[in-house]
Protein backbone atom coordinates (compact mmCIF):
# COMPACT_ATOMS: atom_id res chain seq x y z
CA UNK A 1 0.00 0.00 0.00
CA UNK A 2 2.73 2.40 0.99
CA UNK A 3 4.68 1.70 -2.19
CA UNK A 4 1.55 2.34 -4.22
CA UNK A 5 1.05 5.73 -2.63
CA UNK A 6 4.66 6.61 -3.30
CA UNK A 7 4.49 5.65 -6.96
CA UNK A 8 1.28 7.59 -7.34
CA UNK A 9 2.93 10.63 -5.82
CA UNK A 10 5.94 10.38 -8.10
CA UNK A 11 3.74 10.08 -11.16
CA UNK A 12 1.67 13.03 -10.00
CA UNK A 13 4.73 15.18 -9.47
CA UNK A 14 6.22 14.10 -12.77
CA UNK A 15 3.11 15.09 -14.62
CA UNK A 16 2.97 18.64 -13.27
CA UNK A 17 4.97 20.33 -16.04
CA UNK A 18 2.56 18.89 -18.55
CA UNK A 19 -0.32 20.99 -17.32
CA UNK A 20 1.25 23.79 -15.27
CA UNK A 21 2.17 26.68 -17.52
CA UNK A 22 2.74 29.47 -15.03
CA UNK A 23 6.52 30.01 -14.84
CA UNK A 24 6.23 31.77 -11.51
CA UNK A 25 4.63 28.74 -9.91
CA UNK A 26 7.12 26.44 -11.62
CA UNK A 27 9.91 28.44 -10.08
CA UNK A 28 8.27 28.14 -6.69
CA UNK A 29 7.94 24.40 -7.13
CA UNK A 30 11.58 24.02 -8.06
CA UNK A 31 12.88 25.97 -5.09
CA UNK A 32 10.39 24.19 -2.87
CA UNK A 33 11.71 20.89 -4.16
CA UNK A 34 15.25 21.94 -3.34
CA UNK A 35 14.22 22.92 0.17
CA UNK A 36 12.38 19.62 0.56
CA UNK A 37 15.61 17.78 -0.15
CA UNK A 38 17.22 19.92 2.55
CA UNK A 39 14.32 19.21 4.90
CA UNK A 40 14.62 15.46 4.32
CA UNK A 41 18.29 15.63 5.23
CA UNK A 42 17.49 17.60 8.37
CA UNK A 43 14.85 15.04 9.25
CA UNK A 44 17.48 12.33 9.20
CA UNK A 45 19.24 14.02 12.09
CA UNK A 46 16.26 15.56 13.82
CA UNK A 47 13.60 12.95 13.35
CA UNK A 48 15.47 9.69 13.06
CA UNK A 49 18.45 10.29 15.29
CA UNK A 50 16.96 12.79 17.70
CA UNK A 51 19.61 15.47 17.24
CA UNK A 52 18.37 19.05 16.99
CA UNK A 53 20.94 20.38 14.57
CA UNK A 54 20.07 24.03 14.08
CA UNK A 55 23.06 24.85 11.92
CA UNK A 56 21.88 22.70 9.08
CA UNK A 57 21.76 25.54 6.59
CA UNK A 58 25.56 25.65 6.85
CA UNK A 59 25.83 22.38 4.93
CA UNK A 60 23.36 23.62 2.34
CA UNK A 61 25.26 26.88 1.90
CA UNK A 62 28.66 25.20 1.85
CA UNK A 63 27.39 22.91 -0.86
CA UNK A 64 26.13 25.91 -2.81
CA UNK A 65 29.40 27.81 -2.53
CA UNK A 66 31.61 24.80 -3.25
CA UNK A 67 29.62 23.94 -6.33
CA UNK A 68 29.53 27.54 -7.53
CA UNK A 69 33.22 28.14 -6.96
CA UNK A 70 34.15 24.86 -8.60
CA UNK A 71 32.30 25.79 -11.74
CA UNK A 72 33.32 29.46 -11.75
CA UNK A 73 36.93 29.08 -10.83
CA UNK A 74 38.71 31.29 -8.33
CA UNK A 75 42.02 32.91 -7.53
CA UNK A 76 42.86 33.50 -3.89
CA UNK A 77 45.84 34.39 -1.82
CA UNK A 78 46.60 32.40 1.29
CA UNK A 79 48.92 33.14 4.20
CA UNK A 80 52.65 32.85 3.55
CA UNK A 81 52.36 34.19 0.04
CA UNK A 82 50.63 31.13 -1.35
CA UNK A 83 48.16 31.55 -4.10
CA UNK A 84 45.56 29.07 -5.28
CA UNK A 85 44.20 29.37 -8.78
CA UNK A 86 41.38 27.13 -9.87
CA UNK A 87 40.07 26.94 -13.41
CA UNK A 88 36.39 26.34 -13.92
CA UNK A 89 35.27 22.73 -13.94
CA UNK A 90 31.97 21.32 -15.19
CA UNK A 91 29.11 22.00 -12.79
CA UNK A 92 28.41 18.31 -12.41
CA UNK A 93 31.79 17.96 -10.74
CA UNK A 94 30.79 20.83 -8.50
CA UNK A 95 27.72 18.86 -7.54
CA UNK A 96 29.80 15.88 -6.49
CA UNK A 97 32.33 18.03 -4.65
CA UNK A 98 29.52 19.84 -2.87
CA UNK A 99 28.32 16.53 -1.45
CA UNK A 100 31.83 15.50 -0.45
CA UNK A 101 32.82 18.77 1.19
CA UNK A 102 29.50 19.19 2.96
CA UNK A 103 29.74 15.61 4.16
CA UNK A 104 33.22 16.28 5.49
CA UNK A 105 31.94 19.30 7.39
CA UNK A 106 29.20 17.09 8.74
CA UNK A 107 31.86 14.70 9.95
CA UNK A 108 33.76 17.46 11.73
CA UNK A 109 30.67 18.93 13.27
CA UNK A 110 29.61 15.45 14.29
CA UNK A 111 32.89 14.71 16.00
CA UNK A 112 33.04 18.04 17.74
CA UNK A 113 29.43 18.39 18.63
CA UNK A 114 28.66 14.97 19.91
CA UNK A 115 31.05 15.58 22.74
CA UNK A 116 28.43 18.01 23.86
CA UNK A 117 24.85 16.95 23.93
CA UNK A 118 21.38 18.35 24.30
CA UNK A 119 21.03 22.08 24.47
CA UNK A 120 24.74 22.70 24.05
CA UNK A 121 24.78 20.73 20.81
CA UNK A 122 22.09 23.03 19.48
CA UNK A 123 24.10 26.09 20.43
CA UNK A 124 27.28 24.76 18.86
CA UNK A 125 25.54 23.96 15.59
CA UNK A 126 24.03 27.44 15.41
CA UNK A 127 27.44 28.95 16.13
CA UNK A 128 29.04 26.86 13.42
CA UNK A 129 26.56 28.11 10.84
CA UNK A 130 27.09 31.72 11.86
CA UNK A 131 30.86 31.42 11.69
CA UNK A 132 30.54 30.02 8.17
CA UNK A 133 28.27 32.93 7.23
CA UNK A 134 30.76 35.46 8.56
CA UNK A 135 33.57 33.79 6.65
CA UNK A 136 31.52 33.91 3.46
CA UNK A 137 30.78 37.56 4.15
CA UNK A 138 34.33 38.60 4.92
CA UNK A 139 36.57 36.44 2.73
CA UNK A 140 35.71 38.63 -0.18
CA UNK A 141 38.56 37.49 -2.35
CA UNK A 142 37.08 34.02 -2.50
CA UNK A 143 33.37 34.55 -2.18
CA UNK A 144 32.83 38.13 -3.39
CA UNK A 145 31.24 38.73 0.00
CA UNK A 146 27.93 40.54 -0.13
CA UNK A 147 28.42 41.24 -3.82
CA UNK A 148 27.57 37.60 -4.44
CA UNK A 149 28.82 34.99 -6.84
CA UNK A 150 27.02 35.55 -10.10
CA UNK A 151 26.63 33.89 -13.46
CA UNK A 152 26.94 30.47 -12.02
CA UNK A 153 26.60 28.04 -14.94
CA UNK A 154 23.69 25.66 -15.15
CA UNK A 155 24.33 21.98 -14.72
CA UNK A 156 25.29 20.09 -17.84
CA UNK A 157 24.65 16.40 -18.05
CA UNK A 158 26.37 14.25 -20.61
CA UNK A 159 24.27 11.54 -22.19
CA UNK A 160 26.36 8.85 -23.83
CA UNK A 161 25.96 9.01 -27.55
CA UNK A 162 23.59 11.94 -27.41
CA UNK A 163 25.98 14.69 -26.42
CA UNK A 164 25.68 17.22 -23.63
CA UNK A 165 22.49 18.78 -22.37
CA UNK A 166 22.63 21.99 -20.40
CA UNK A 167 19.73 22.24 -18.01
CA UNK A 168 18.65 25.82 -18.44
CA UNK A 169 14.91 25.73 -18.66
CA UNK A 170 12.55 25.47 -15.77
CA UNK A 171 11.19 22.24 -17.15
CA UNK A 172 14.61 20.61 -17.18
CA UNK A 173 15.48 21.84 -13.72
CA UNK A 174 12.17 20.65 -12.39
CA UNK A 175 12.90 17.11 -13.48
CA UNK A 176 16.46 17.33 -12.20
CA UNK A 177 15.27 18.39 -8.76
CA UNK A 178 12.51 15.79 -8.81
CA UNK A 179 14.99 13.04 -9.64
CA UNK A 180 17.37 14.04 -6.89
CA UNK A 181 14.47 14.28 -4.45
CA UNK A 182 13.23 10.80 -5.33
CA UNK A 183 16.71 9.31 -5.00
CA UNK A 184 17.13 11.07 -1.66
CA UNK A 185 13.82 9.72 -0.44
CA UNK A 186 14.74 6.18 -1.41
CA UNK A 187 18.18 6.48 0.13
CA UNK A 188 16.80 7.70 3.43
CA UNK A 189 14.07 5.10 3.39
CA UNK A 190 16.56 2.29 2.90
CA UNK A 191 18.82 3.72 5.56
CA UNK A 192 16.09 4.02 8.11
CA UNK A 193 14.91 0.46 7.64
CA UNK A 194 18.39 -0.98 7.82
CA UNK A 195 20.42 -2.24 10.72
CA UNK A 196 22.00 1.22 10.90
CA UNK A 197 18.60 2.87 11.02
CA UNK A 198 17.65 0.77 14.00
CA UNK A 199 20.82 1.85 15.75
CA UNK A 200 19.86 5.49 15.16
CA UNK A 201 16.41 4.84 16.51
CA UNK A 202 17.73 2.98 19.53
CA UNK A 203 19.94 5.94 20.40
CA UNK A 204 17.04 8.30 20.06
CA UNK A 205 14.65 6.23 22.12
CA UNK A 206 16.86 5.15 25.00
CA UNK A 207 20.53 5.83 24.66
CA UNK A 208 21.69 4.01 27.79
CA UNK A 209 19.91 0.87 26.72
CA UNK A 210 21.14 1.12 23.15
CA UNK A 211 24.71 1.46 24.29
CA UNK A 212 24.40 -1.59 26.50
CA UNK A 213 23.60 -3.79 23.50
CA UNK A 214 26.66 -2.63 21.66
CA UNK A 215 25.55 0.41 19.68
CA UNK A 216 28.42 2.87 19.25
CA UNK A 217 27.05 6.35 19.88
CA UNK A 218 29.77 8.39 18.26
CA UNK A 219 30.04 6.25 15.18
CA UNK A 220 26.29 6.15 14.62
CA UNK A 221 25.67 9.84 15.18
CA UNK A 222 28.67 10.90 13.13
CA UNK A 223 27.66 8.72 10.22
CA UNK A 224 24.14 10.14 10.35
CA UNK A 225 25.61 13.65 10.38
CA UNK A 226 27.82 12.92 7.37
CA UNK A 227 24.99 11.53 5.28
CA UNK A 228 22.64 14.28 6.36
CA UNK A 229 25.20 16.99 5.57
CA UNK A 230 26.06 15.44 2.21
CA UNK A 231 22.43 15.45 1.11
CA UNK A 232 22.06 19.06 2.24
CA UNK A 233 25.16 19.90 0.24
CA UNK A 234 23.61 18.33 -2.83
CA UNK A 235 20.53 20.48 -2.36
CA UNK A 236 22.73 23.55 -2.03
CA UNK A 237 24.49 22.71 -5.24
CA UNK A 238 21.20 22.37 -7.11
CA UNK A 239 20.18 25.71 -5.69
CA UNK A 240 23.38 27.41 -6.83
CA UNK A 241 23.10 26.16 -10.40
CA UNK A 242 19.42 26.94 -10.67
CA UNK A 243 19.25 30.39 -9.10
CA UNK A 244 22.73 31.10 -10.46
CA UNK A 245 23.47 33.70 -7.77
CA UNK A 246 24.74 32.92 -4.30
CA UNK A 247 25.40 35.40 -1.52
CA UNK A 248 26.16 34.97 2.20
CA UNK A 249 22.49 35.44 3.04
CA UNK A 250 22.02 31.82 2.04
CA UNK A 251 23.43 31.04 5.49
CA UNK A 252 20.81 33.07 7.30
CA UNK A 253 19.35 31.36 10.32
CA UNK A 254 15.87 31.94 8.95
CA UNK A 255 16.58 29.33 6.30
CA UNK A 256 17.33 26.70 8.92
CA UNK A 257 14.14 27.70 10.67
CA UNK A 258 12.26 27.23 7.41
CA UNK A 259 13.50 23.67 7.12
CA UNK A 260 12.79 23.03 10.79
CA UNK A 261 9.20 24.24 10.41
CA UNK A 262 8.79 22.01 7.36
CA UNK A 263 10.03 18.95 9.23
CA UNK A 264 8.19 19.57 12.49
CA UNK A 265 4.89 20.41 10.83
CA UNK A 266 5.06 17.57 8.35
CA UNK A 267 6.17 15.14 11.00
CA UNK A 268 9.68 14.45 12.17
CA UNK A 269 10.67 10.84 12.11
CA UNK A 270 8.40 10.06 9.20
CA UNK A 271 9.63 9.71 5.64
CA UNK A 272 6.83 11.66 4.00
CA UNK A 273 6.67 14.34 6.70
CA UNK A 274 9.29 16.69 5.25
CA UNK A 275 7.70 16.36 1.82
CA UNK A 276 4.27 17.37 3.11
CA UNK A 277 5.66 20.09 5.35
CA UNK A 278 7.87 21.28 2.54
CA UNK A 279 5.01 21.57 0.09
CA UNK A 280 3.01 23.58 2.59
CA UNK A 281 5.70 26.02 3.63
CA UNK A 282 7.32 26.20 0.25
CA UNK A 283 4.15 27.12 -1.59
CA UNK A 284 2.24 29.04 1.08
CA UNK A 285 4.39 32.16 0.71
CA UNK A 286 3.60 32.17 -2.99
CA UNK A 287 -0.12 32.14 -2.42
CA UNK A 288 -0.04 34.52 0.49
CA UNK A 289 2.14 37.10 -1.21
CA UNK A 290 -0.68 39.19 -2.65
CA UNK A 291 -2.38 39.55 0.69
CA UNK A 292 0.36 39.44 3.31
CA UNK A 293 3.76 41.06 3.50
CA UNK A 294 6.62 38.60 4.09
CA UNK A 295 7.17 39.88 7.64
CA UNK A 296 3.54 39.34 8.45
CA UNK A 297 3.77 35.85 6.97
CA UNK A 298 6.66 35.02 9.24
CA UNK A 299 4.69 36.14 12.25
CA UNK A 300 2.15 33.57 11.15
CA UNK A 301 4.74 30.84 10.52
CA UNK A 302 6.23 31.35 13.96
CA UNK A 303 2.74 31.08 15.33
CA UNK A 304 2.07 27.93 13.30
CA UNK A 305 5.21 26.28 14.66
CA UNK A 306 4.09 27.02 18.20
CA UNK A 307 0.55 25.82 17.59
CA UNK A 308 1.72 22.60 15.95
CA UNK A 309 4.02 21.88 18.89
CA UNK A 310 1.16 22.38 21.30
CA UNK A 311 -1.65 20.73 19.41
CA UNK A 312 -0.13 18.26 16.96
CA UNK A 313 3.38 17.58 18.23
CA UNK A 314 3.85 14.52 16.09
CA UNK A 315 3.25 16.48 12.93
CA UNK A 316 0.72 16.00 10.18
CA UNK A 317 1.76 12.74 8.55
CA UNK A 318 2.21 10.62 11.71
CA UNK A 319 -1.01 12.01 13.19
CA UNK A 320 -2.93 11.06 10.05
CA UNK A 321 -1.30 7.65 10.02
CA UNK A 322 -2.36 7.12 13.61
CA UNK A 323 -5.90 8.20 12.82
CA UNK A 324 -6.26 5.74 9.99
CA UNK A 325 -4.28 2.87 11.50
CA UNK A 326 -6.07 -0.43 12.08
CA UNK A 327 -7.42 -0.54 15.63
CA UNK A 328 -5.52 -3.04 17.72
CA UNK A 329 -7.28 -5.90 19.46
CA UNK A 330 -6.53 -5.78 23.14
CA UNK A 331 -3.86 -8.30 23.92
CA UNK A 332 -4.21 -10.40 27.03
CA UNK A 333 -1.34 -10.68 29.41
CA UNK A 334 0.27 -13.95 28.58
CA UNK A 335 3.47 -14.74 30.38
CA UNK A 336 2.64 -16.87 33.43
CA UNK A 337 0.27 -19.36 31.83
CA UNK A 338 1.81 -19.86 28.42
CA UNK A 339 5.31 -20.04 29.69
CA UNK A 340 4.67 -22.67 32.32
CA UNK A 341 2.79 -24.72 29.77
CA UNK A 342 5.74 -24.73 27.45
CA UNK A 343 8.04 -25.15 30.36
CA UNK A 344 6.05 -28.17 31.45
CA UNK A 345 6.33 -29.62 27.96
CA UNK A 346 10.06 -29.01 27.84
CA UNK A 347 10.69 -30.78 31.09
CA UNK A 348 8.22 -33.54 30.49
Amino acid sequence: MRAGVAILAIVAFASVPLWLRDPYLMNALITTGIFIIGAMSLNLLLGFTGQLSLGHIAFFGIGAYVSALTSLGFDVGLPFGLRIVHVPWPPIVGFVLAIVVAGLCGYLVGLLSFRVRGAYFVIVTISFAEVVRLVALNWVELTQGPLALTNIPSITVGLPGLGDLTLRTKLQNYYLVLSVAVVTYLLISRLVHSHFGRAMRGLMENETLAVSVGIDVTKTLTLAAVISAGIAGAAGSLYAHYIRIIDPEVFAFINTVTMVIMVITGGKGSLAGPVVGGMIFGLLPVFLRPIMAPEAQWIAYGGVLIVILFVLPRGIVPSLALRFAKPRTRAETVAPVAFSERDAKEHA
Partner: protein, 260 residues
Protein backbone atom coordinates in the same frame (compact mmCIF):
# COMPACT_ATOMS: atom_id res chain seq x y z
CA UNK B 1 36.00 -31.81 41.02
CA UNK B 2 37.48 -28.92 39.09
CA UNK B 3 36.33 -25.38 39.85
CA UNK B 4 34.76 -23.57 36.88
CA UNK B 5 36.97 -21.18 34.94
CA UNK B 6 36.69 -17.59 36.10
CA UNK B 7 34.52 -15.43 33.91
CA UNK B 8 34.41 -12.18 35.82
CA UNK B 9 36.90 -11.11 38.44
CA UNK B 10 36.61 -8.06 40.63
CA UNK B 11 39.88 -7.17 42.33
CA UNK B 12 40.42 -4.60 45.08
CA UNK B 13 37.73 -2.37 43.66
CA UNK B 14 37.06 0.84 45.54
CA UNK B 15 34.75 3.67 44.58
CA UNK B 16 34.98 7.10 46.15
CA UNK B 17 32.56 9.91 45.35
CA UNK B 18 34.50 12.86 46.65
CA UNK B 19 34.75 12.16 50.34
CA UNK B 20 32.13 9.44 50.33
CA UNK B 21 33.39 5.86 50.19
CA UNK B 22 30.76 3.90 48.31
CA UNK B 23 32.79 0.72 47.94
CA UNK B 24 35.99 -0.34 49.63
CA UNK B 25 38.27 -3.23 48.74
CA UNK B 26 35.76 -5.39 46.92
CA UNK B 27 37.02 -8.79 45.77
CA UNK B 28 34.95 -11.52 44.26
CA UNK B 29 34.66 -13.56 41.12
CA UNK B 30 32.04 -15.30 39.05
CA UNK B 31 32.82 -18.63 37.42
CA UNK B 32 31.75 -19.61 33.93
CA UNK B 33 28.20 -20.91 33.95
CA UNK B 34 27.53 -19.88 37.55
CA UNK B 35 24.55 -17.93 38.79
CA UNK B 36 25.80 -15.45 41.39
CA UNK B 37 23.64 -12.94 43.25
CA UNK B 38 24.73 -9.71 44.83
CA UNK B 39 22.59 -8.76 47.80
CA UNK B 40 22.64 -6.34 50.71
CA UNK B 41 20.47 -3.84 52.55
CA UNK B 42 19.59 -0.51 50.98
CA UNK B 43 22.59 1.75 50.66
CA UNK B 44 25.02 -1.15 50.87
CA UNK B 45 26.57 -0.26 47.53
CA UNK B 46 24.94 -2.88 45.32
CA UNK B 47 24.02 -0.42 42.58
CA UNK B 48 27.47 1.13 42.62
CA UNK B 49 29.07 -2.30 42.45
CA UNK B 50 26.78 -3.30 39.62
CA UNK B 51 27.60 -0.18 37.65
CA UNK B 52 31.32 -0.78 38.09
CA UNK B 53 31.05 -4.37 36.99
CA UNK B 54 29.00 -3.46 33.92
CA UNK B 55 31.34 -0.68 32.91
CA UNK B 56 28.95 2.18 33.55
CA UNK B 57 31.17 3.53 36.31
CA UNK B 58 34.94 3.57 36.49
CA UNK B 59 36.29 2.48 39.88
CA UNK B 60 38.54 4.83 41.82
CA UNK B 61 40.85 1.90 42.46
CA UNK B 62 41.05 -1.71 41.47
CA UNK B 63 40.23 -3.62 38.35
CA UNK B 64 37.44 -5.62 36.81
CA UNK B 65 38.39 -8.30 34.34
CA UNK B 66 36.20 -10.37 32.10
CA UNK B 67 37.80 -13.47 30.64
CA UNK B 68 41.15 -11.80 31.04
CA UNK B 69 40.24 -8.47 29.44
CA UNK B 70 40.30 -5.43 31.70
CA UNK B 71 37.06 -3.46 31.68
CA UNK B 72 38.48 -0.25 33.13
CA UNK B 73 38.16 2.62 30.72
CA UNK B 74 36.18 0.71 28.11
CA UNK B 75 33.07 2.34 26.76
CA UNK B 76 29.77 0.56 27.40
CA UNK B 77 29.38 -0.54 23.81
CA UNK B 78 32.87 -2.03 23.83
CA UNK B 79 31.98 -4.00 26.94
CA UNK B 80 28.90 -5.26 25.17
CA UNK B 81 31.13 -6.44 22.35
CA UNK B 82 32.99 -8.60 24.85
CA UNK B 83 29.74 -10.44 25.49
CA UNK B 84 28.87 -8.73 28.78
CA UNK B 85 25.28 -7.57 28.51
CA UNK B 86 23.26 -5.92 31.27
CA UNK B 87 19.62 -5.15 31.87
CA UNK B 88 18.17 -2.06 33.49
CA UNK B 89 15.77 -1.71 36.34
CA UNK B 90 13.96 1.33 35.05
CA UNK B 91 13.55 2.26 31.40
CA UNK B 92 14.41 -1.24 30.33
CA UNK B 93 12.80 -0.98 26.91
CA UNK B 94 12.44 1.32 23.92
CA UNK B 95 8.96 2.51 24.83
CA UNK B 96 7.76 3.80 21.48
CA UNK B 97 8.67 0.67 19.53
CA UNK B 98 6.87 -2.63 19.40
CA UNK B 99 8.24 -5.54 21.39
CA UNK B 100 9.35 -7.11 18.16
CA UNK B 101 11.19 -3.97 17.05
CA UNK B 102 12.78 -3.72 20.46
CA UNK B 103 14.38 -7.08 19.90
CA UNK B 104 15.50 -6.11 16.43
CA UNK B 105 17.48 -3.28 17.99
CA UNK B 106 18.87 -5.69 20.54
CA UNK B 107 20.11 -7.85 17.68
CA UNK B 108 22.44 -5.03 16.65
CA UNK B 109 25.59 -7.01 17.25
CA UNK B 110 24.30 -9.82 15.09
CA UNK B 111 23.18 -7.93 12.05
CA UNK B 112 26.16 -5.99 10.91
CA UNK B 113 26.32 -5.56 7.19
CA UNK B 114 28.03 -2.84 5.24
CA UNK B 115 26.01 0.34 4.93
CA UNK B 116 26.27 0.39 1.17
CA UNK B 117 25.01 -3.17 0.95
CA UNK B 118 22.07 -2.27 3.12
CA UNK B 119 21.19 0.80 1.08
CA UNK B 120 21.42 -1.01 -2.24
CA UNK B 121 19.42 -3.92 -0.89
CA UNK B 122 21.99 -6.49 -1.90
CA UNK B 123 21.19 -10.16 -1.24
CA UNK B 124 23.56 -10.46 1.75
CA UNK B 125 21.83 -7.57 3.47
CA UNK B 126 18.42 -9.01 2.74
CA UNK B 127 19.20 -12.47 4.03
CA UNK B 128 20.75 -10.96 7.12
CA UNK B 129 17.53 -9.03 7.76
CA UNK B 130 15.55 -12.23 7.32
CA UNK B 131 17.70 -14.08 9.83
CA UNK B 132 17.33 -11.26 12.30
CA UNK B 133 13.57 -11.25 11.98
CA UNK B 134 13.46 -15.00 12.59
CA UNK B 135 15.65 -14.66 15.63
CA UNK B 136 13.51 -11.85 16.99
CA UNK B 137 10.42 -14.02 16.64
CA UNK B 138 12.19 -16.88 18.43
CA UNK B 139 13.12 -14.63 21.32
CA UNK B 140 9.62 -13.21 21.68
CA UNK B 141 8.28 -16.74 21.97
CA UNK B 142 11.00 -17.79 24.33
CA UNK B 143 9.96 -15.22 26.91
CA UNK B 144 6.31 -15.92 26.27
CA UNK B 145 5.27 -12.59 24.85
CA UNK B 146 4.10 -13.66 21.36
CA UNK B 147 0.66 -12.20 21.88
CA UNK B 148 2.16 -8.82 22.73
CA UNK B 149 4.81 -8.89 20.01
CA UNK B 150 3.27 -6.05 18.04
CA UNK B 151 2.23 -3.88 20.95
CA UNK B 152 4.29 -0.86 21.94
CA UNK B 153 6.73 -1.84 24.65
CA UNK B 154 5.73 1.18 26.67
CA UNK B 155 2.18 -0.13 26.95
CA UNK B 156 3.19 -3.39 28.63
CA UNK B 157 2.98 -4.02 32.35
CA UNK B 158 6.07 -3.48 34.45
CA UNK B 159 6.75 -7.20 34.71
CA UNK B 160 6.27 -7.71 30.99
CA UNK B 161 8.67 -4.88 30.26
CA UNK B 162 11.25 -6.66 32.35
CA UNK B 163 10.81 -9.75 30.20
CA UNK B 164 11.29 -7.63 27.10
CA UNK B 165 14.42 -6.21 28.70
CA UNK B 166 15.77 -9.70 29.27
CA UNK B 167 14.87 -10.76 25.74
CA UNK B 168 16.67 -7.66 24.49
CA UNK B 169 19.74 -8.62 26.44
CA UNK B 170 19.56 -12.18 25.11
CA UNK B 171 19.27 -10.84 21.58
CA UNK B 172 22.74 -9.37 22.04
CA UNK B 173 24.04 -12.95 22.47
CA UNK B 174 25.69 -12.49 25.84
CA UNK B 175 28.23 -14.87 27.26
CA UNK B 176 27.54 -13.22 30.59
CA UNK B 177 24.27 -11.59 31.60
CA UNK B 178 24.02 -9.00 34.34
CA UNK B 179 20.52 -8.52 35.70
CA UNK B 180 19.65 -5.35 37.61
CA UNK B 181 16.85 -6.11 40.12
CA UNK B 182 15.05 -8.21 37.51
CA UNK B 183 12.01 -9.19 39.54
CA UNK B 184 11.30 -5.90 41.31
CA UNK B 185 7.69 -5.09 40.57
CA UNK B 186 6.79 -8.67 39.66
CA UNK B 187 4.18 -10.68 41.56
CA UNK B 188 4.86 -14.13 42.97
CA UNK B 189 3.85 -16.10 39.91
CA UNK B 190 5.77 -13.84 37.53
CA UNK B 191 8.80 -14.21 39.79
CA UNK B 192 8.52 -17.98 39.75
CA UNK B 193 8.36 -17.96 35.98
CA UNK B 194 11.34 -15.67 35.86
CA UNK B 195 13.42 -18.03 37.98
CA UNK B 196 12.73 -20.77 35.42
CA UNK B 197 13.79 -18.39 32.68
CA UNK B 198 17.06 -17.62 34.43
CA UNK B 199 17.81 -21.31 34.82
CA UNK B 200 17.07 -21.91 31.14
CA UNK B 201 19.41 -19.12 30.20
CA UNK B 202 22.17 -20.60 32.32
CA UNK B 203 21.55 -24.01 30.81
CA UNK B 204 22.33 -22.47 27.45
CA UNK B 205 25.79 -21.63 28.73
CA UNK B 206 25.39 -18.03 29.87
CA UNK B 207 27.05 -16.89 33.11
CA UNK B 208 24.72 -14.81 35.25
CA UNK B 209 25.22 -12.15 37.89
CA UNK B 210 22.21 -10.51 39.42
CA UNK B 211 21.45 -7.85 41.98
CA UNK B 212 18.24 -8.35 43.89
CA UNK B 213 16.22 -7.58 46.99
CA UNK B 214 13.79 -10.50 46.77
CA UNK B 215 15.30 -13.03 49.18
CA UNK B 216 13.27 -16.15 48.35
CA UNK B 217 14.03 -15.60 44.67
CA UNK B 218 17.70 -15.15 45.33
CA UNK B 219 17.85 -18.20 47.55
CA UNK B 220 16.14 -20.39 45.02
CA UNK B 221 18.05 -19.36 41.91
CA UNK B 222 21.64 -18.74 43.02
CA UNK B 223 24.63 -21.04 43.06
CA UNK B 224 26.49 -18.53 45.19
CA UNK B 225 25.57 -15.34 46.99
CA UNK B 226 27.76 -12.32 47.74
CA UNK B 227 26.51 -10.06 50.54
CA UNK B 228 27.42 -6.38 50.73
CA UNK B 229 27.04 -3.96 53.58
CA UNK B 230 28.47 -0.47 53.96
CA UNK B 231 30.43 -0.88 50.75
CA UNK B 232 32.20 -4.06 51.83
CA UNK B 233 31.61 -7.76 51.29
CA UNK B 234 30.54 -9.28 54.58
CA UNK B 235 29.79 -12.81 53.46
CA UNK B 236 30.02 -15.08 50.46
CA UNK B 237 28.87 -18.63 49.80
CA UNK B 238 26.06 -20.95 48.87
CA UNK B 239 22.49 -20.06 49.84
CA UNK B 240 22.56 -22.42 52.84
CA UNK B 241 25.72 -20.85 54.18
CA UNK B 242 24.40 -17.34 53.72
CA UNK B 243 21.05 -18.19 55.26
CA UNK B 244 22.76 -19.06 58.49
CA UNK B 245 25.52 -16.48 58.50
CA UNK B 246 25.18 -14.30 61.64
CA UNK B 247 26.67 -11.22 59.98
CA UNK B 248 24.12 -11.42 57.20
CA UNK B 249 21.23 -11.93 59.56
CA UNK B 250 22.36 -8.98 61.59
CA UNK B 251 22.74 -6.78 58.50
CA UNK B 252 19.16 -7.43 57.56
CA UNK B 253 17.95 -7.14 61.16
CA UNK B 254 15.79 -10.14 60.98
CA UNK B 255 14.07 -9.40 57.66
CA UNK B 256 16.19 -11.88 55.78
CA UNK B 257 15.98 -14.45 58.53
CA UNK B 258 12.19 -14.41 58.51
CA UNK B 259 11.82 -14.54 54.73
CA UNK B 260 14.68 -16.83 53.75
Amino acid sequence: MTAPATALSVEKVAVHFGGLVALSDMNFSVGEGEIVSLIGPNGAGKTTAFNVVTGFLDPTRGAVNYRGTALNGLKPHQIADLGLIRTFQRTSVFPNDTVYDNLLVGLHRQGRVGLLEAILGLPRARSSQRRLRERASELVEWVGLERRAYDLAGSLSYGEQRLVGVALALAAEPSMLLLDEPVSGMNASETHTFVQLVRNIRDRGVTILLVEHDMPMVMSVSDRIVVLNYGRIIAEGSPDVIRNDPAVIEAYLGQGAKRA
